[in-house]
Amino acid sequence: MKRRLLLFLPLIAFLGLAAFFYYRLGMDPSYRDSALIERDFPAFSASTLEDPNRTVDESLLKGEVTLVNVWGEWCPACKQEMPQLLDLAERGIRMVGVDYRDTREKGRQFLAEYGNPFELNIFDPDGDLGFDLGVYGAPETFLVDADGVIRYHHTGYIAPEDVREVIVPEVKKWR
């Protein structure tokens, strides 16, 4: 009898594996959270897209809950995302852009064409700030609370339903 039970072991092991596979089936294996969650927004010093002579640093993000959106003119998804960002700005959320790996000229042209929801844009032509933020594509969006701590991170395109279902509740949570 004991031996008979032993023969069932492979079956049990397989059923466990199959159940695990079933559970994983709907999950997106590429989804990852940012390593910067719950940490201070990295220190930086950069000029703004609007004014090459104006230098800003991380103190810019203190005092109010802010959405920091990393974008670039070369990024088609950023164009599709623009209406949602404008919507968020209209809802009274403070927006700051990071113009990532771009030229001033192209970045300004982009904002002129697709709208500008940002209070100002940090100009990051070499991707240094992006690197410190752990950005590896665009668009990416970070929610920074009034103390300058990163509270939420959104990888990729913000869909219209994400605005209502994810972003706005997160902003409310940290206000």
Binding site: A35, W74, C75, A77, C78, G127, Y136, G137
Partner: protein, 156 residues
């Protein structure tokens, strides 16, 4: 296959222009040891964008940035641990191809070692019982063959 998947992935996610081209940087190293360290570091960190490639093997722009940073930190005289921590701070534990030994990875390293010990034990147990069996009796097949041989002899 890794690159194929990366290409497919890259088509769906947006990247700076001219993304898919072999990124070969010409770098000068003061000594061969540092060059070796550079190769080991870039070979053991995973590109955060690609599906499954080391930053040293990947042509994604972020991998190029990360290689540049590794090189710069090496030139600054940083240790391997400091460089790895610098990267993990930004991109997370995910980028380490060699996961750190900690609570959640004990089993990853422990199971193979345990299996090896269990395997050795199993061999010892099986051979012990079989050694006794060899003295005791013939196998079923041997028995069948013996029967047949004796039968054949008897009938002929």
């Amino acid at each position: 296959m890794a690159l194929i998947r990366w290409l497919l992935f890259a088509l769906l996610l947006t990247l700076p222009a001219a993304a898919v081209a072999v990124g070969i940087e010409v770098r000068d190293f003061d000594d061969p040891v540092m060059q070796e360290r550079y190769r080991d570091l870039t070979g053991s960190m995973r590109c955060p964008l690609c599906e499954n490639q080391a930053i040293g093997d990947s042509d994604a722009p972020i991998s190029g940035d990360m290689r540049d940073r590794v090189y710069a930190l090496l030139q600054d005289g940083k240790s391997d641990t400091e460089i790895v921590n610098h990267m993990v701070d930004r991109f997370g534990e995910y980028i380490l191809y060699n996961p750190r030994l900690e609570n959640r990875t004990y089993l990853l390293w422990g199971i193979p070692v345990a299996l090896l010990l269990a395997g050795a034990l199993l061999v010892a147990l099986i051979v012990r019982t079989r050694r006794n069996a060899s003295a005791a009796s013939l196998s079923a097949d041997e028995q069948a063959r013996l029967d047949e041989l004796t039968k054949r002899k008897r009938s002929s």
